[in-house]
Protein backbone atom coordinates (compact mmCIF):
# COMPACT_ATOMS: atom_id res chain seq x y z
CA UNK A 1 0.00 0.00 0.00
CA UNK A 2 2.77 2.43 1.00
CA UNK A 3 6.35 1.70 0.17
CA UNK A 4 9.46 3.83 0.65
CA UNK A 5 12.63 2.65 -1.07
CA UNK A 6 15.77 4.32 0.11
CA UNK A 7 14.04 7.69 0.15
CA UNK A 8 15.93 10.94 0.75
CA UNK A 9 14.67 14.45 0.88
CA UNK A 10 16.89 17.49 0.78
CA UNK A 11 15.44 20.96 1.28
CA UNK A 12 17.20 24.00 -0.16
CA UNK A 13 20.14 21.92 -1.27
CA UNK A 14 21.51 21.26 2.21
CA UNK A 15 18.91 20.46 4.87
CA UNK A 16 18.43 16.71 4.94
CA UNK A 17 14.90 15.91 6.09
CA UNK A 18 15.00 12.24 5.19
CA UNK A 19 18.02 10.08 4.61
CA UNK A 20 17.77 6.66 2.99
CA UNK A 21 14.43 5.66 4.51
CA UNK A 22 13.00 2.29 3.48
CA UNK A 23 9.62 1.37 4.84
CA UNK A 24 6.70 -0.80 3.86
CA UNK A 25 3.17 -0.37 5.17
CA UNK A 26 0.50 -2.93 4.30
CA UNK A 27 -3.17 -2.38 3.74
CA UNK A 28 -5.08 -2.04 6.97
CA UNK A 29 -2.07 -1.28 9.17
CA UNK A 30 -1.98 1.35 11.91
CA UNK A 31 1.43 2.97 12.15
CA UNK A 32 2.81 5.60 14.51
CA UNK A 33 5.71 7.69 13.28
CA UNK A 34 7.58 9.07 16.26
CA UNK A 35 10.72 11.09 16.82
CA UNK A 36 11.84 14.53 17.94
CA UNK A 37 10.69 17.66 16.15
CA UNK A 38 12.53 17.98 12.87
CA UNK A 39 13.31 14.27 12.69
CA UNK A 40 11.45 14.01 9.40
CA UNK A 41 8.01 12.77 10.44
CA UNK A 42 6.11 15.51 8.66
CA UNK A 43 8.16 15.08 5.49
CA UNK A 44 7.35 11.36 5.58
CA UNK A 45 3.63 12.12 5.80
CA UNK A 46 3.81 14.79 3.09
CA UNK A 47 5.49 12.36 0.72
CA UNK A 48 2.65 9.89 1.08
CA UNK A 49 0.08 12.35 -0.22
CA UNK A 50 2.56 13.81 -2.67
CA UNK A 51 2.85 17.22 -1.16
CA UNK A 52 6.58 16.57 -1.37
CA UNK A 53 8.48 14.43 -3.83
CA UNK A 54 11.69 12.60 -2.92
CA UNK A 55 15.11 13.95 -3.83
CA UNK A 56 16.33 10.37 -4.04
CA UNK A 57 14.76 6.92 -3.91
CA UNK A 58 11.19 5.94 -4.73
CA UNK A 59 7.82 6.27 -3.05
CA UNK A 60 4.99 3.94 -4.05
CA UNK A 61 1.50 4.64 -2.78
CA UNK A 62 -1.65 2.79 -3.86
CA UNK A 63 0.39 1.05 -6.53
CA UNK A 64 1.74 4.25 -8.07
CA UNK A 65 5.27 5.56 -8.33
CA UNK A 66 4.69 9.09 -7.09
CA UNK A 67 7.73 10.55 -8.80
CA UNK A 68 6.29 9.51 -12.15
CA UNK A 69 2.78 10.69 -11.37
CA UNK A 70 1.58 13.47 -13.65
CA UNK A 71 0.46 16.76 -12.19
CA UNK A 72 -3.10 16.31 -13.33
CA UNK A 73 -3.31 12.84 -11.80
CA UNK A 74 -2.54 14.20 -8.33
CA UNK A 75 -6.09 15.41 -7.50
CA UNK A 76 -7.58 12.02 -8.30
CA UNK A 77 -4.87 10.30 -6.28
CA UNK A 78 -5.55 12.58 -3.29
CA UNK A 79 -9.22 11.73 -3.31
CA UNK A 80 -8.26 8.30 -2.04
CA UNK A 81 -6.31 9.74 0.88
CA UNK A 82 -7.59 11.64 3.91
CA UNK A 83 -5.27 14.01 5.75
CA UNK A 84 -5.61 15.50 9.24
CA UNK A 85 -3.37 18.27 10.58
CA UNK A 86 -2.37 19.74 13.89
CA UNK A 87 -4.02 23.06 12.97
CA UNK A 88 -7.18 21.35 11.60
CA UNK A 89 -7.19 23.43 8.39
CA UNK A 90 -10.91 24.10 8.42
CA UNK A 91 -12.42 26.95 6.43
CA UNK A 92 -13.52 29.65 8.86
CA UNK A 93 -16.42 30.94 6.78
CA UNK A 94 -17.96 27.51 6.32
CA UNK A 95 -19.88 25.70 9.03
CA UNK A 96 -19.14 22.17 10.17
CA UNK A 97 -21.39 20.57 7.59
CA UNK A 98 -20.01 22.66 4.73
CA UNK A 99 -16.44 21.97 5.75
CA UNK A 100 -17.09 18.28 5.36
CA UNK A 101 -19.30 18.44 2.26
CA UNK A 102 -16.66 20.60 0.58
CA UNK A 103 -14.44 17.52 0.19
CA UNK A 104 -17.16 15.83 -1.83
CA UNK A 105 -18.20 18.89 -3.81
CA UNK A 106 -14.79 19.25 -5.40
CA UNK A 107 -15.17 15.75 -6.79
CA UNK A 108 -18.55 16.44 -8.32
CA UNK A 109 -20.57 14.07 -6.15
CA UNK A 110 -24.36 14.36 -6.40
CA UNK A 111 -26.17 16.43 -3.81
CA UNK A 112 -28.07 13.44 -2.51
CA UNK A 113 -24.97 11.33 -2.11
CA UNK A 114 -23.22 14.26 -0.40
CA UNK A 115 -26.04 14.61 2.12
CA UNK A 116 -25.98 10.93 2.91
CA UNK A 117 -22.25 10.65 3.35
CA UNK A 118 -21.74 13.91 5.25
CA UNK A 119 -24.33 13.01 7.85
CA UNK A 120 -22.75 9.58 8.12
CA UNK A 121 -19.30 11.07 8.67
CA UNK A 122 -20.51 13.68 11.16
CA UNK A 123 -22.38 10.98 12.98
CA UNK A 124 -19.24 8.88 13.17
CA UNK A 125 -17.32 11.69 14.89
CA UNK A 126 -20.35 12.46 17.08
CA UNK A 127 -20.95 16.01 15.83
CA UNK A 128 -24.06 15.69 13.70
CA UNK A 129 -25.95 17.95 16.11
CA UNK A 130 -23.23 20.61 15.79
CA UNK A 131 -23.38 20.70 12.00
CA UNK A 132 -24.47 24.36 11.86
CA UNK A 133 -21.58 25.55 14.03
CA UNK A 134 -18.69 27.48 12.56
CA UNK A 135 -15.10 26.52 13.46
CA UNK A 136 -14.70 29.46 15.87
CA UNK A 137 -17.73 28.22 17.79
CA UNK A 138 -16.21 24.78 18.24
CA UNK A 139 -13.59 23.57 20.71
CA UNK A 140 -10.23 22.35 19.45
CA UNK A 141 -11.25 18.74 19.89
CA UNK A 142 -14.49 19.34 18.02
CA UNK A 143 -12.67 21.09 15.20
CA UNK A 144 -10.31 18.17 14.86
CA UNK A 145 -13.25 15.78 14.78
CA UNK A 146 -14.73 17.82 11.93
CA UNK A 147 -11.39 17.58 10.15
CA UNK A 148 -11.43 13.82 10.65
CA UNK A 149 -14.98 13.66 9.31
CA UNK A 150 -13.77 15.58 6.26
CA UNK A 151 -10.88 13.17 5.81
CA UNK A 152 -13.12 10.12 6.15
CA UNK A 153 -16.15 11.28 4.19
CA UNK A 154 -14.76 9.79 0.99
CA UNK A 155 -13.89 6.43 2.55
CA UNK A 156 -10.20 6.87 1.83
CA UNK A 157 -7.82 3.97 1.45
CA UNK A 158 -5.30 5.81 3.58
CA UNK A 159 -5.77 8.20 6.50
CA UNK A 160 -2.78 10.37 7.37
CA UNK A 161 -2.49 12.48 10.49
CA UNK A 162 0.32 14.91 11.22
CA UNK A 163 0.40 15.69 14.95
CA UNK A 164 -3.40 15.51 15.13
CA UNK A 165 -3.47 16.13 18.89
CA UNK A 166 -0.60 18.60 19.13
CA UNK A 167 -2.97 21.36 20.26
CA UNK A 168 -5.29 19.23 22.39
CA UNK A 169 -5.47 18.13 26.02
CA UNK A 170 -4.85 14.45 26.90
CA UNK A 171 -8.50 13.48 27.32
CA UNK A 172 -9.52 15.04 24.02
CA UNK A 173 -6.47 13.50 22.41
CA UNK A 174 -7.62 10.08 23.50
CA UNK A 175 -10.98 10.68 21.82
CA UNK A 176 -9.25 11.68 18.61
CA UNK A 177 -7.09 8.58 18.63
CA UNK A 178 -10.03 6.32 19.23
CA UNK A 179 -11.61 7.85 16.13
CA UNK A 180 -8.48 7.09 14.14
CA UNK A 181 -8.57 3.55 15.50
CA UNK A 182 -12.20 3.25 14.51
CA UNK A 183 -11.34 4.29 10.96
CA UNK A 184 -8.63 1.67 10.99
CA UNK A 185 -11.14 -0.98 12.08
CA UNK A 186 -13.15 -0.22 8.95
CA UNK A 187 -10.10 -1.15 6.90
CA UNK A 188 -8.42 2.21 6.31
CA UNK A 189 -4.66 2.23 6.53
CA UNK A 190 -3.67 4.83 9.13
CA UNK A 191 -0.34 6.61 9.52
CA UNK A 192 0.01 9.05 12.42
CA UNK A 193 2.99 11.27 13.18
CA UNK A 194 2.77 12.14 16.86
CA UNK A 195 4.44 13.22 20.07
CA UNK A 196 1.66 11.79 22.23
CA UNK A 197 3.82 9.44 24.22
CA UNK A 198 1.17 8.01 26.54
CA UNK A 199 -1.18 7.18 23.74
CA UNK A 200 1.48 5.42 21.69
CA UNK A 201 2.44 3.45 24.74
CA UNK A 202 -1.16 2.52 25.48
CA UNK A 203 -2.26 1.53 22.02
CA UNK A 204 0.71 -0.71 21.21
CA UNK A 205 0.63 -0.35 17.46
CA UNK A 206 3.46 -0.53 14.99
CA UNK A 207 5.95 2.25 15.71
CA UNK A 208 8.55 3.66 13.34
CA UNK A 209 11.03 6.06 14.84
CA UNK A 210 12.96 8.68 12.92
CA UNK A 211 16.06 10.45 14.12
CA UNK A 212 17.64 13.17 11.99
CA UNK A 213 15.92 11.86 8.91
CA UNK A 214 17.00 8.26 9.41
CA UNK A 215 14.74 5.36 10.30
CA UNK A 216 16.19 4.02 13.57
CA UNK A 217 13.42 1.71 14.75
CA UNK A 218 10.50 -0.22 13.27
CA UNK A 219 8.68 -2.26 15.87
CA UNK A 220 5.43 -4.24 15.91
CA UNK A 221 3.36 -3.37 18.98
CA UNK A 222 5.98 -0.81 19.96
CA UNK A 223 6.22 1.86 22.60
CA UNK A 224 7.02 5.57 22.13
CA UNK A 225 10.65 4.99 23.07
CA UNK A 226 12.58 1.83 23.64
Amino acid sequence: MISFRNVSKVYNGSVKALNGVSLHIDKGEFVFAVGASGAGKSTLIKMIYREETPSGGQVFVLGKDLAKMRRREVPYFRRRIGVVFQDFKLLEHKNAWENVSFALEVTGTSRREINRRVSQALNLVGLLDRREAFPNELSGGEQQRIAIARALVRNPDILLADEPTGNLDPKTSMEIFSLLERANLYGTTVVVATHAQDIVNNLRKRVVELRDGTLVRDERRGAYSC
Binding site: Y49, R71, P75, K89, L91, A103, T107
Partner: protein, 288 residues
Amino acid sequence: MFSQTFRSLWRNKLSSFLSSLTTGFALFLLGTSFLVSINLGYMYQMAESQMEIQAYMNKEASDAELAAAVTQIRDMPGVSEVKFVSKEAALEELKDMFKDKASVLDSLEEDSPLPPSVRVNTTGAEQIPVVVEALKSIDVINDVIYQEEVSERLAQIGKAVQYLSLGGMLIVGIVAVMVIANSIRLAIDARRQEIGIMKLVGATDGFVLMPFLLEGVFLGLLGSALGTGFAVGVYNWVAGKIAEFIPFMPIVGLETQSIQEMFGIMALTGVIVGLTGSAFSVRRHLRV
Protein backbone atom coordinates in the same frame (compact mmCIF):
# COMPACT_ATOMS: atom_id res chain seq x y z
CA MET B 1 -19.52 28.77 -8.23
CA PHE B 2 -21.08 32.03 -9.42
CA SER B 3 -21.89 33.10 -5.89
CA GLN B 4 -18.25 32.54 -5.02
CA THR B 5 -17.20 34.76 -7.91
CA PHE B 6 -19.44 37.60 -6.81
CA ARG B 7 -18.43 37.29 -3.18
CA SER B 8 -14.82 37.56 -4.22
CA LEU B 9 -15.48 40.53 -6.49
CA TRP B 10 -17.30 42.28 -3.69
CA ARG B 11 -14.51 41.55 -1.22
CA ASN B 12 -12.10 43.41 -3.50
CA LYS B 13 -14.48 46.19 -4.48
CA LEU B 14 -11.86 48.83 -5.14
CA SER B 15 -9.58 46.71 -7.26
CA SER B 16 -12.56 45.24 -9.11
CA PHE B 17 -13.81 48.72 -9.83
CA LEU B 18 -10.41 49.95 -10.98
CA SER B 19 -9.93 46.96 -13.25
CA SER B 20 -13.29 47.46 -14.86
CA LEU B 21 -12.63 51.14 -15.23
CA THR B 22 -9.27 50.60 -16.91
CA THR B 23 -10.74 47.99 -19.21
CA GLY B 24 -13.57 50.39 -19.86
CA PHE B 25 -11.13 53.12 -20.82
CA ALA B 26 -9.27 50.84 -23.23
CA LEU B 27 -12.54 49.82 -24.81
CA PHE B 28 -13.71 53.41 -24.89
CA LEU B 29 -10.70 54.21 -27.06
CA LEU B 30 -11.45 51.19 -29.21
CA GLY B 31 -15.06 52.23 -29.61
CA THR B 32 -14.27 55.84 -30.33
CA SER B 33 -11.73 55.02 -33.00
CA PHE B 34 -14.27 52.65 -34.50
CA LEU B 35 -16.89 55.34 -34.61
CA VAL B 36 -14.51 57.86 -36.11
CA SER B 37 -13.34 55.52 -38.84
CA ILE B 38 -16.89 54.44 -39.63
CA ASN B 39 -17.75 58.09 -40.12
CA LEU B 40 -14.66 58.82 -42.16
CA GLY B 41 -15.51 55.88 -44.38
CA TYR B 42 -18.98 57.29 -44.84
CA MET B 43 -17.64 60.70 -45.72
CA TYR B 44 -15.22 59.13 -48.17
CA GLN B 45 -18.11 57.39 -49.89
CA MET B 46 -20.06 60.61 -50.10
CA ALA B 47 -17.06 62.40 -51.57
CA GLU B 48 -16.41 59.68 -54.09
CA SER B 49 -19.92 59.96 -55.44
CA GLN B 50 -19.16 63.49 -56.49
CA MET B 51 -16.98 63.15 -59.55
CA GLU B 52 -16.60 66.81 -60.07
CA ILE B 53 -14.52 69.80 -59.13
CA GLN B 54 -16.13 72.36 -56.91
CA ALA B 55 -14.92 75.90 -57.11
CA TYR B 56 -16.18 78.15 -54.35
CA MET B 57 -16.46 81.81 -55.28
CA ASN B 58 -16.31 85.00 -53.40
CA LYS B 59 -19.62 85.69 -51.61
CA GLU B 60 -19.27 89.43 -52.23
CA ALA B 61 -18.74 89.09 -56.01
CA SER B 62 -21.42 90.69 -58.20
CA ASP B 63 -23.62 88.69 -60.53
CA ALA B 64 -21.77 90.13 -63.53
CA GLU B 65 -18.43 89.06 -62.17
CA LEU B 66 -19.75 85.56 -61.51
CA ALA B 67 -21.27 85.28 -64.97
CA ALA B 68 -17.98 86.36 -66.55
CA ALA B 69 -16.11 83.74 -64.55
CA VAL B 70 -18.54 81.03 -65.62
CA THR B 71 -18.07 81.93 -69.28
CA GLN B 72 -14.32 81.91 -68.83
CA ILE B 73 -14.47 78.45 -67.31
CA ARG B 74 -16.67 77.13 -70.11
CA ASP B 75 -14.02 78.14 -72.61
CA MET B 76 -11.23 76.33 -70.77
CA PRO B 77 -9.69 73.35 -72.49
CA GLY B 78 -10.58 70.04 -70.91
CA VAL B 79 -13.81 71.27 -69.40
CA SER B 80 -16.90 69.36 -70.47
CA GLU B 81 -19.62 70.75 -68.28
CA VAL B 82 -20.07 73.72 -66.00
CA LYS B 83 -22.91 74.20 -63.59
CA PHE B 84 -23.32 77.38 -61.64
CA VAL B 85 -24.83 77.16 -58.18
CA SER B 86 -25.93 80.46 -56.68
CA LYS B 87 -25.90 81.12 -52.94
CA GLU B 88 -29.65 80.61 -52.82
CA ALA B 89 -29.50 77.40 -54.84
CA ALA B 90 -26.80 76.05 -52.55
CA LEU B 91 -29.03 76.68 -49.54
CA GLU B 92 -31.98 75.02 -51.27
CA GLU B 93 -29.85 72.01 -52.00
CA LEU B 94 -28.71 71.84 -48.43
CA LYS B 95 -32.28 72.02 -47.19
CA ASP B 96 -33.22 69.29 -49.57
CA MET B 97 -30.41 67.10 -48.26
CA PHE B 98 -31.54 67.57 -44.68
CA LYS B 99 -35.27 67.66 -44.99
CA ASP B 100 -35.75 66.16 -41.58
CA LYS B 101 -33.55 68.72 -39.96
CA ALA B 102 -35.12 71.69 -41.71
CA SER B 103 -35.68 73.57 -38.48
CA VAL B 104 -31.96 73.95 -38.04
CA LEU B 105 -31.78 75.73 -41.35
CA ASP B 106 -34.80 77.96 -40.92
CA SER B 107 -32.76 80.68 -39.33
CA LEU B 108 -30.61 80.81 -42.44
CA GLU B 109 -33.58 81.72 -44.65
CA GLU B 110 -32.71 85.38 -44.92
CA ASP B 111 -29.13 85.31 -45.97
CA SER B 112 -27.45 82.18 -47.25
CA PRO B 113 -24.15 81.60 -45.46
CA LEU B 114 -22.98 79.44 -48.31
CA PRO B 115 -20.81 80.82 -51.09
CA PRO B 116 -21.86 80.54 -54.73
CA SER B 117 -19.97 77.87 -56.59
CA VAL B 118 -19.45 76.22 -59.95
CA ARG B 119 -19.36 72.49 -60.45
CA VAL B 120 -17.01 71.58 -63.22
CA ASN B 121 -16.77 68.26 -64.98
CA THR B 122 -13.71 67.52 -67.04
CA THR B 123 -13.35 65.50 -70.18
CA GLY B 124 -11.18 63.06 -68.25
CA ALA B 125 -9.66 62.46 -64.84
CA GLU B 126 -6.20 63.45 -66.11
CA GLN B 127 -7.54 66.90 -66.89
CA ILE B 128 -8.47 67.51 -63.25
CA PRO B 129 -5.12 68.92 -62.02
CA VAL B 130 -4.85 71.20 -65.09
CA VAL B 131 -8.37 72.52 -64.69
CA VAL B 132 -7.86 72.96 -60.96
CA GLU B 133 -4.78 75.09 -61.58
CA ALA B 134 -6.67 77.19 -64.16
CA LEU B 135 -9.60 77.65 -61.81
CA LYS B 136 -7.33 78.80 -59.02
CA SER B 137 -6.04 81.61 -61.21
CA ILE B 138 -9.50 83.16 -61.53
CA ASP B 139 -9.97 86.14 -59.20
CA VAL B 140 -13.45 85.48 -57.85
CA ILE B 141 -12.66 81.86 -57.03
CA ASN B 142 -11.58 81.46 -53.43
CA ASP B 143 -11.18 77.76 -53.05
CA VAL B 144 -11.10 74.74 -55.30
CA ILE B 145 -12.03 71.33 -53.94
CA TYR B 146 -12.01 68.16 -55.91
CA GLN B 147 -12.74 64.64 -54.97
CA GLU B 148 -9.22 63.32 -55.14
CA GLU B 149 -7.98 65.82 -52.66
CA VAL B 150 -10.90 65.27 -50.34
CA SER B 151 -10.52 61.53 -50.38
CA GLU B 152 -6.77 61.77 -49.94
CA ARG B 153 -7.23 63.99 -46.95
CA LEU B 154 -9.89 61.76 -45.48
CA ALA B 155 -7.70 58.74 -45.98
CA GLN B 156 -4.83 60.51 -44.26
CA ILE B 157 -6.96 61.55 -41.32
CA GLY B 158 -8.42 58.07 -41.13
CA LYS B 159 -4.97 56.48 -41.01
CA ALA B 160 -3.73 58.94 -38.41
CA VAL B 161 -6.78 58.31 -36.25
CA GLN B 162 -6.37 54.57 -36.60
CA TYR B 163 -2.66 54.54 -35.74
CA LEU B 164 -3.14 56.93 -32.87
CA SER B 165 -6.02 55.02 -31.35
CA LEU B 166 -4.34 51.68 -32.04
CA GLY B 167 -1.30 52.83 -30.12
CA GLY B 168 -3.40 54.21 -27.29
CA MET B 169 -5.55 51.11 -27.24
CA LEU B 170 -2.54 48.84 -27.09
CA ILE B 171 -1.07 50.70 -24.15
CA VAL B 172 -4.32 50.98 -22.24
CA GLY B 173 -5.16 47.39 -23.20
CA ILE B 174 -1.93 46.12 -21.69
CA VAL B 175 -2.56 48.19 -18.59
CA ALA B 176 -6.08 46.76 -18.41
CA VAL B 177 -4.76 43.20 -18.62
CA MET B 178 -2.23 43.96 -15.88
CA VAL B 179 -4.78 45.61 -13.63
CA ILE B 180 -7.15 42.68 -14.02
CA ALA B 181 -4.28 40.28 -13.38
CA ASN B 182 -3.51 42.18 -10.19
CA SER B 183 -7.12 42.13 -9.13
CA ILE B 184 -7.21 38.38 -9.62
CA ARG B 185 -3.96 38.02 -7.73
CA LEU B 186 -5.55 39.78 -4.76
CA ALA B 187 -8.50 37.42 -5.01
CA ILE B 188 -6.15 34.44 -5.09
CA ASP B 189 -4.19 35.75 -2.11
CA ALA B 190 -7.37 36.26 -0.14
CA ARG B 191 -8.25 32.63 -0.72
CA ARG B 192 -4.81 31.04 -0.46
CA GLN B 193 -5.77 28.90 2.50
CA GLU B 194 -8.98 27.80 0.85
CA ILE B 195 -7.15 26.93 -2.36
CA GLY B 196 -4.62 24.91 -0.36
CA ILE B 197 -7.39 22.94 1.31
CA MET B 198 -9.21 22.46 -1.98
CA LYS B 199 -6.09 20.95 -3.48
CA LEU B 200 -5.56 18.86 -0.39
CA VAL B 201 -8.95 17.25 -0.71
CA GLY B 202 -8.35 16.53 -4.38
CA ALA B 203 -9.86 19.43 -6.30
CA THR B 204 -8.58 19.50 -9.87
CA ASP B 205 -6.74 22.60 -11.09
CA GLY B 206 -9.68 23.39 -13.34
CA PHE B 207 -12.08 23.34 -10.43
CA VAL B 208 -9.80 25.60 -8.40
CA LEU B 209 -9.11 28.17 -11.09
CA MET B 210 -12.54 28.34 -12.71
CA PRO B 211 -13.93 30.94 -10.26
CA PHE B 212 -10.92 33.17 -10.90
CA LEU B 213 -11.27 32.94 -14.66
CA LEU B 214 -14.96 33.71 -14.30
CA GLU B 215 -14.05 36.68 -12.17
CA GLY B 216 -11.70 37.98 -14.85
CA VAL B 217 -14.28 37.51 -17.58
CA PHE B 218 -16.84 39.32 -15.49
CA LEU B 219 -14.47 42.23 -14.87
CA GLY B 220 -13.76 42.40 -18.60
CA LEU B 221 -17.46 42.40 -19.44
CA LEU B 222 -18.15 45.07 -16.87
CA GLY B 223 -15.34 47.08 -18.40
CA SER B 224 -16.74 46.70 -21.89
CA ALA B 225 -20.16 47.83 -20.65
CA LEU B 226 -18.56 50.90 -19.09
CA GLY B 227 -16.48 51.62 -22.18
CA THR B 228 -19.40 51.16 -24.55
CA GLY B 229 -21.65 53.33 -22.44
CA PHE B 230 -19.06 56.04 -22.26
CA ALA B 231 -18.31 55.89 -26.00
CA VAL B 232 -22.02 56.06 -26.85
CA GLY B 233 -22.50 59.00 -24.52
CA VAL B 234 -19.59 60.93 -25.96
CA TYR B 235 -20.58 60.05 -29.52
CA ASN B 236 -24.12 61.24 -29.05
CA TRP B 237 -22.91 64.45 -27.52
CA VAL B 238 -20.39 65.13 -30.28
CA ALA B 239 -22.86 64.11 -33.00
CA GLY B 240 -25.39 66.49 -31.48
CA LYS B 241 -22.89 69.34 -31.49
CA ILE B 242 -21.88 68.61 -35.08
CA ALA B 243 -25.49 68.48 -36.21
CA GLU B 244 -25.96 71.83 -34.55
CA PHE B 245 -22.95 73.63 -35.96
CA ILE B 246 -22.07 71.80 -39.18
CA PRO B 247 -25.46 70.45 -40.23
CA PHE B 248 -24.35 69.32 -43.68
CA MET B 249 -21.72 66.99 -42.26
CA PRO B 250 -22.87 63.41 -42.65
CA ILE B 251 -22.93 61.47 -39.35
CA VAL B 252 -23.59 57.78 -39.05
CA GLY B 253 -26.41 56.94 -36.66
CA LEU B 254 -25.88 54.53 -33.75
CA GLU B 255 -28.53 52.18 -35.08
CA THR B 256 -26.49 51.28 -38.17
CA GLN B 257 -25.43 47.70 -38.52
CA SER B 258 -21.70 48.40 -38.48
CA ILE B 259 -22.07 50.14 -35.14
CA GLN B 260 -24.18 47.34 -33.74
CA GLU B 261 -21.43 44.98 -34.76
CA MET B 262 -18.97 47.21 -33.00
CA PHE B 263 -20.79 46.69 -29.71
CA GLY B 264 -20.40 42.95 -30.17
CA ILE B 265 -16.69 43.37 -30.83
CA MET B 266 -16.32 45.55 -27.73
CA ALA B 267 -17.98 42.93 -25.53
CA LEU B 268 -15.83 40.20 -27.03
CA THR B 269 -12.69 42.25 -26.52
CA GLY B 270 -13.71 42.82 -22.90
CA VAL B 271 -14.05 39.09 -22.38
CA ILE B 272 -10.69 38.45 -24.01
CA VAL B 273 -8.96 41.14 -21.93
CA GLY B 274 -10.51 39.74 -18.74
CA LEU B 275 -9.65 36.18 -19.59
CA THR B 276 -6.08 37.08 -20.52
CA GLY B 277 -5.59 38.99 -17.28
CA SER B 278 -6.97 36.29 -15.06
CA ALA B 279 -5.25 33.47 -16.95
CA PHE B 280 -2.00 35.34 -16.54
CA SER B 281 -2.48 35.66 -12.79
CA VAL B 282 -3.75 32.13 -12.33
CA ARG B 283 -0.74 30.74 -14.15
CA ARG B 284 1.66 32.70 -12.03
CA HIS B 285 0.05 32.41 -8.63
CA LEU B 286 -1.93 29.19 -8.64
CA ARG B 287 0.82 26.61 -9.06
CA VAL B 288 0.49 23.59 -6.83
